[in-house]
C-alpha cells in the first residue's frame, strides 16, 4: 500500500470495494479509480493505441491520455473513461483496454517493433498493395491491433435529461479564480451559475498546499461554497462540465448526475445536458500541465508533477517510491516541498536551470535529494513500471537513480478551449510561455490560470474583478469586492521542455501514440502547418484532444522549422471540451420517444378492431384490421376493399391536415394558393385543388370546402400538413399582407372519417341526428355542409370520394371521434385501413405520396388543364417553362401486367418492350402498385415518358433488385368506373 497515513480529502472511516481486471481492491470515499489503484500499488492501467505500450496514469484530471478504462459491464459498459475522473463507488468494476491476452503480457506489443510501419501517415502509405487486401486483411488486422475500448452492445438502460437555465453570469470552474468570481457576482445579487466538473468545489485548492484568508485551501473553498449558498441568485452545479460555447451567450454543459453511483436512483437520469443562456461568462477553467518530451516519457511511473501533488495532498497517495522531480522552472519545487512536508524522501531533483533560489537549495537539502542543475534524463528503465533512471548532470556525468516515480514539471497550458469555440485563436505569450486566450466570445472574460495568471493571490484578485465586472455588465453594480488574501511567492513561468537525447520513443500524444519522430517525418514530407501536421500524424485527435501533449507537438514542429511558437500557432479547438455520451445529447428522444407519437381520436377503437398500426409522419394509422382466419396483410386488405366496393366501409382520415380559413379575402387567397379557382365555389360545395411550389412543381393536394361566404376549411395530405400551413403563413405575411384573411390549423380539433361504398348514404343517414335530408338531390356529389350527430354535436359532412365509391367524409370535434366511429361501425360500415384506401385510390388513379414526390408537375399528373390561365398563382410562371411542358417528360399512366398473375413492383424501371436493359433506354418508373381485387390482378401507377399518348402499348417493367421483368400494358390511370357513375350514385 502506498497510502499516506494522514491527510487527504478521503473518508478513512469507510471502505469501498472495487474490481479492476478481475482483481479485488479497496479504496475510500473521496478516491478516484486512479487514486485508489495507485493506493493499492497498481501502476499499470492500460495499453496504448498503436504500439500497445504499457501505460500508467499521467495526470489527475480529465486531460488523462493513458489510464483509460472500460467502466462497468454489460449494458452499462462505457469505454475510454479516464481513471482520474471516475469517482470510486462500492462495487465499481473496471477493466483495462486494448490488451491481448492480458494487461501485463500483451502480444500486440510487437507493434512497437513494427513501429516503422505504423509511423505518421501509415494509413496512406503502407498496406497499399494489393488493393483488394485492404478490406480483407490489412484493415481488420489493424482494427484488431489498434483502437481503444469497446462500447456496450446492448441498449443503454439509463435515461438522460435535458434542461435549460438562464442567468446573468456563468462561472466556469470553481478553483480560486472561479470561486472569487462567483462570490463577487453573487454578492451583488446577480443570478450566477457556477459549474464545476468535479464533485467538490475548489479546483487546484484541493490539490495544493495553500492558505487563503488564514484557512487551508480546501477549508476556504468550503467556506466560500457556504457563502455562495447564502446568495439567493447562485446555482451551483457540481459534476458539470461546460462542454461548448455557442452564439449569443449559449452554453452546453453536461451534468453527470449519477455517474458516481453504481446505478442511477430510480427515476433519476444518469446525465443531464444543460443549455445555459448567460449574459456574461467568467472562464476560470484553470490550466493543464503539459508533458515534457524525452525518450520513454510514457512509462508507468512518469507523471506530471502537479498531478503528483494532487495524489499526495487530495488523495493521500504516494504514487511511487523514492520520487525524482524534474522541473523546467519553479513549479516542480512545489512537489519537492510537499514531499518534504509529508516526510517523503526525494531521490533526485533535476532542474533545467543552472541557477535556483536559496529557498530551493534549502528544500533540496531538506528532501535529501541529489540536485542536478542543468541536468537531464538520459534513460528510463522499466517497461511495465518505472524502476530507475539514468540522470545526467550539466557536466555530462551519468548515474543510475533507483525510483518508481518521476514527477515532471514542464509548465502549464491555460485551458483556452472554451474561449476558442467561436473561432477566437489563442495567442502565444512569451511571458507566460504558453498559448493564452485571444479574441474572446462576446460576454466572456477569463480569470486565473485559464488566462495564464498562475499565482494564487493574482488568481483571486482577477476572479474577484472579473465576477464584479460581469455583474456590473448585467446591471448589478456595487462597490469593489473584498479580495480573498493569499501570500504566494511569484513564480517564473517555465518554457516548453525538451530533454534531448534519451533512448526510446519520445511521445507528444500518448493516446494516439504520436512521437517526435512522427512530427519530424511530417515536417520532412511537407506537412508543416500545424493543422496539416495534426491530420497527417493524428496528433491531438484522440479523445483527450491533446490537452497534455498538444503544445508539445507544436513546439516540436516549431523547433524543426526554426519558427517561433507564435509563428507556428496552434490548431483550432472545437466543441466538445471533453467527450459527451451520445445518450446525453439524445436525452429522452430515443426509441419510441424519438419524436412525439400522435394518435387519432379513434385509435383505441381501431386497436379493438384488430388494427395493425403504421407510422405516417408522427401519426399512427391503421394499416389493416386483421380478422380471425386471415394470415396475411393482403387477405385483410382485399377483404376490406371488397367490403367497401360491395357494401360500405369506414376509414379514419383524422390525420389529414385541416386548416380553417376566414375573412373577406379568403377566396382570393385560395385562388393564389391553388392552381385552380376557388373564389367562385358556392357555399355548401367542396372542390379538389392542387398547390404548386413557386418553382412550378406540385407541392400538395386536397379538398377545400366553403362553409359560409367568408369561411372555408381546407384539407392537406397528412405528411404536408405543417408545411402547407407554414407556406400559407409565408404567402399571407410576406407576399400578400394586404389580404384580410386569417387561418388556423384545426387538424387536432376535428376527428374525421371516410364512409365509402354503395351503402354509404344509409350509414350517414343513420349516424346523423334525425331530420336531415342527405338524398342525392339534397346533398349531391361535392356537397359540404353543417349537420349534427350524436345528439346535437356539431358535424361537418363532405360528399367527397377518394375510393371512387359513393362516399362521405364526416367530421366531429375530436372528443366525439370515438363515439362517432363506433356509431358508424354499428350502422354496418366495415373498418378499412390505409392499405385498402391506397388500393382503391390506385384503382382510381389518384396521385398520392409516390406521385407527389416533389419532382412532378401538374401536367405530369394529368392535371395540366386544371391550371387556370385567368389568374396568378404560386408556381404559375415557372410551370410554363418549356422543359416542364415537354411531352417527353414522364407522365402518369396506369400499368397492367400482360400475363395474368405477374406482379408489378413499385420502383421498377419502364423500358420499351424490346430495348436492352440500359440506363439510356429508361423511360420512367412505377410509382405505386396494388393488388386490385376488382380486376383480380396486380396494377400499377407509373410515370412514363409521353405516357398519355401511349395507352395500349406493351412495355417492359424491369426491377433488377427483386428480379422483376414483367411486360405490362400502358392504360389509363383510372382502372375503375372512369365515368364516375358510382361516386355520383
Amino acid at each position: 500500500m502506498t497510502r499516506i497515513s494522514t491527510g487527504g480529502l478521503i473518508d478513512r472511516s469507510k471502505t469501498l470495494r472495487f474490481r479492476f481486471d478481475g482483481t479485488n481492491y479497496s479504496g475510500r470515499p473521496g478516491d478516484t479509480l486512479a487514486s485508489a489503484l495507485l493506493a493499492n500499488g497498481v501502476r499499470l492501467m492500460g495499453r496504448s493505441f498503436k504500439y500497445h505500450r504499457p501505460r500508467g496514469v499521467l495526470s489527475a484530471g480529465p486531460e488523462e491520455p493513458s489510464a483509460l478504462v472500460e467502466l462497468r459491464s454489460g449494458a452499462r459498459r462505457e469505454p475510454n473513461i479516464p481513471a482520474p475522473v471516475v469517482e470510486l463507488f462500492h462495487g465499481l468494476e473496471a477493466s483495462s483496454q486494448n490488451r491481448f491476452p492480458s494487461l501485463g503480457f500483451d502480444l500486440m506489443a510487437v507493434n512497437g517493433l513494427l513501429a516503422p510501419l505504423f509511423s505518421a501517415g501509415f494509413y496512406y502509405k503502407t498496406f497499399m498493395w494489393p488493393a483488394s487486401w485492404w478490406e480483407k486483411l490489412y484493415e481488420p488486422l489493424i482494427r484488431h491491433a489498434a483502437g481503444l475500448g469497446r462500447a456496450a452492445t446492448e441498449d443503454d438502460p439509463d435515461s438522460y435529461d435535458r434542461a435549460h437555465l438562464f442567468c446573468d453570469v456563468l462561472v466556469v470552474g470553481s478553483g480560486p479564480a472561479g470561486l472569487a468570481a462567483a462570490l463577487a457576482a453573487g454578492r451583488r445579487g446577480a443570478r450566477v451559475v457556477l459549474c464545476e466538473s468535479g464533485p467538490l468545489l475548489g479546483g487546484r485548492l484541493l490539490a495544493e498546499h495553500t492558505e487563503i484568508d488564514g484557512m487551508p485551501g480546501p477549508a476556504w473553498a468550503a467556506a466560500t461554497e457556504a457563502a455562495l449558498r447564502d446568495c439567493p441568485g447562485v446555482t451551483i452545479l457540481r459534476r458539470t462540465t461546460v462542454a461548448a460555447v455557442f452564439d449569443h451567450g449559449s452554453y452546453v454543459a453536461v451534468e453527470r448526475v449519477a455517474d458516481h453511483k453504481p446505478v442511477p436512483d430510480s427515476h433519476e437520469p444518469r446525465q443531464r445536458v444543460w443549455r445555459i443562456v448567460a449574459k456574461r461568462c467568467v472562464l476560470a477553467a484553470g490550466a493543464f500541465e503539459r508533458l515534457a518530451t524525452f525518450g520513454d516519457n510514457d512509462r508507468p511511473g512518469v507523471m506530471l508533477a502537479g498531478a503528483v501533488r494532487t495524489y499526495l495532498n487530495r488523495y493521500a497517495v504516494l504514487p511511487g517510491r523514492a520520487p525524482v522531480v524534474a522541473t523546467s522552472g519553479d513549479d516542480g519545487w512545489r512537489t519537492v516541498a510537499d514531499c518534504v512536508r509529508l516526510g517523503i524522501g526525494v531521490a533526485a531533483i533535476i532542474d533545467r536551470r543552472s541557477e535556483i533560489t536559496s529557498q530551493q537549495r534549502q528544500l533540496a537539502e531538506a528532501s535529501g535529494a541529489q540536485l542536478l542543475l542543468g541536468g537531464r534524463i538520459a534513460r528510463v528503465y522499466g517497461g511495465t513500471g518505472l524502476y530507475g533512471l539514468d540522470v545526467e548532470d550539466a557536466a555530462g556525468k551519468r548515474q543510475f537513480v533507483s525510483t518508481e516515480l518521476l514527477a515532471v514539471a514542464g509548465g502549464w497550458n491555460p485551458a483556452v478551449q472554451l474561449a476558442c469555440h467561436l473561432g477566437g485563436k489563442p495567442v502565444w505569450s512569451e511571458h507566460t510561455q504558453a498559448f493564452v486566450p485571444g479574441t474572446l466570445p462576446p460576454g466572456m472574460s477569463v480569470a486565473g490560470a485559464a488566462r495564464g495568471t498562475f499565482g494564487l493571490a493574482a488568481a483571486l484578485a482577477e476572479g474577484s474583478a472579473a465576477g464584479a465586472a460581469a455583474a456590473d455588465g448585467t446591471g448589478f453594480a456595487g462597490s469593489a469586492p473584498a479580495v480573498p488574501r493569499a501570500d504566494d511567492a511569484a513564480t517564473t513561468p517555465a518554457p516548453i521542455w525538451f530533454l534531448a537525447g534519451g533512448r526510446g520513443k519520445a511521445f507528444v500524444d500518448f493516446q494516439h501514440d504520436v512521437t517526435t519522430a512522427d512530427i519530424a517525418q511530417a515536417q520532412q514530407e511537407g506537412f508543416v502547418s500545424v493543422e496539416h501536421m495534426k491530420r497527417y500524424t493524428t496528433h491531438g485527435m484522440a479523445t483527450d484532444q491533446g490537452k497534455t501533449g498538444g503544445v508539445a507537438g507544436m513546439a516540436a514542429m516549431a523547433a524543426l522549422t526554426g519558427r517561433s511558437m507564435a509563428e507556428t500557432g496552434t490548431t483550432l479547438h472545437r466543441p466538445p471540451y471533453t467527450p459527451i455520451a451520445i445518450g446525453a445529447l439524445a436525452g429522452h428522444h430515443r426509441g419510441k420517444d424519438f419524436r412525439p407519437t400522435r394518435r387519432t381520436p379513434a385509435h383505441d377503437w381501431a386497436a379493438e378492431q384488430g388494427a395493425s398500426f403504421v407510422e405516417t409522419g408522427p401519426w399512427l394509422r391503421a394499416e389493416w384490421f386483421t380478422q380471425p382466419g386471415e394470415r396475411t396483410w393482403l387477405q385483410s386488405c382485399t377483404r376490406e376493399v371488397n367490403a367497401v366496393r360491395g357494401g360500405v366501409g369506414v376509414c379514419d382520415v383524422s390525420t389529414l391536415g385541416k386548416i380553417e380559413i376566414v375573412g373577406p379575402d379568403a377566396g382570393a387567397f385560395l385562388d393564389f394558393l391553388y392552381i385552380n379557382t376557388f373564389s367562385t365555389l358556392p357555399v355548401g360545395r367542396v372542390r379538389y385543388g392542387t398547390m404548386l411550389r413557386e418553382d412550378g412543381f406540385v407541392f400538395d393536394d386536397g379538398t377545400t370546402a366553403r362553409l359560409a361566404p367568408d369561411r372555408w376549411v381546407m384539407t392537406t395530405t397528412t405528411a404536408n400538413a405543417p408545411r402547407v400551413l407554414q407556406h400559407m403563413e409565408f404567402v399571407h405575411q410576406v407576399l400578400r399582407p394586404d389580404w384580410r384573411v386569417a387561418f388556423v390549423s384545426v387538424t387536432d380539433q376535428w376527428a374525421q372519417f371516410a364512409v365509402a361504398g354503395p351503402r354509404a348514404r344509409s350509414v350517414i343517414a343513420a349516424v346523423l341526428d334525425a331530420g336531415f335530408d342527405v338524398s342525392d338531390a339534397a346533398f349531391p356529389f361535392m356537397a359540404a355542409g353543417n349537420f349534427t350527430s350524436l345528439g346535437g354535436v356539431e358535424t361537418r359532412l363532405f360528399r367527397i370520394s377518394f375510393s371512387g365509391e359513393q362516399a362521405y367524409e364526416i367530421g366531429v370535434p375530436s372528443a366525439y371521434g370515438d363515439a362517432l366511429v363506433r356509431k358508424i361501425a354499428a350502422a354496418g360500415a366495415v373498418p378499412y385501413g390505409l392499405e385498402a384506401l391506397s388500393v382503391m385510390r390506385i384503382e382510381k388513379g389518384h396521385p398520392a405520396g409516390g406521385e407527389l414526390n416533389g419532382q412532378t408537375t401538374a401536367m405530369d399528373l394529368g392535371m395540366g388543364r386544371m391550371m387556370s390561365s385567368k389568374k396568378d398563382f404560386i408556381g404559375r410562371a415557372m410551370a410554363q417553362r418549356p422543359a416542364l411542358r415537354d411531352p417527353q417528360r414522364p407522365a402518369l399512366v396506369g400499368l397492367k401486367p400482360v400475363k395474368a398473375g405477374d406482379r408489378l413492383r413499385a420502383g421498377a424501371h419502364l423500358l420499351p418492350r424490346t430495348a436492352t436493359h440500359r440506363i439510356e433506354n429508361d423511360q420512367g418508373w412505377i410509382s405505386s402498385v396494388a393488388f386490385s381485387p376488382s380486376l383480380n390482378s396486380w396494377i400499377g401507377l407509373g410515370l412514363l415518358a409521353n405516357g398519355p399518348a401511349r395507352h395500349g402499348e406493351i412495355i417492359r417493367t424491369l426491377d433488377p433488385v427483386r428480379g422483376g421483368n414483367a411486360l405490362a400494358e400502358v392504360v389509363s390511370p383510372c382502372f375503375i368506373d372512369p365515368d364516375g357513375v358510382r361516386l355520383r350514385g
Binding site: F246, D247, H248, R275, L422, Q733, A877, M878
Partner: protein, 83 residues
Amino acid sequence: MRIPCPHCGERGNDEFFYLGAAGLTRPAADAQPEAWHDYVYLRDNPAGKHSELWQHAHGCRRWLVVTRDTRTHAVFSAVDATP
C-alpha cells in the same frame, strides 16, 4: 444563436424555421422568365451582413426579417416581415 423576436422577446434559434434571403420581390405574373428565374433560384451569399426570413414557428408563428452577420452570427435587427 439567439434571435430577438419582436413579438416574443429573445429566443433560441431552435424555435425558428429558416427559409432564406429576405427582400426579394415576387415578379409580376407576366414578367419575363429571367425575372422569375432570378426570383426562384438566384441568391446572394454574402460574407457579412445578410437579411433573412425566419419564422418563429414554435412561438408567435410570425415570419421575421432577421439581419445578421453571416461570419459572426451577430444579429443587427429582427422585425416582422409584414411591413
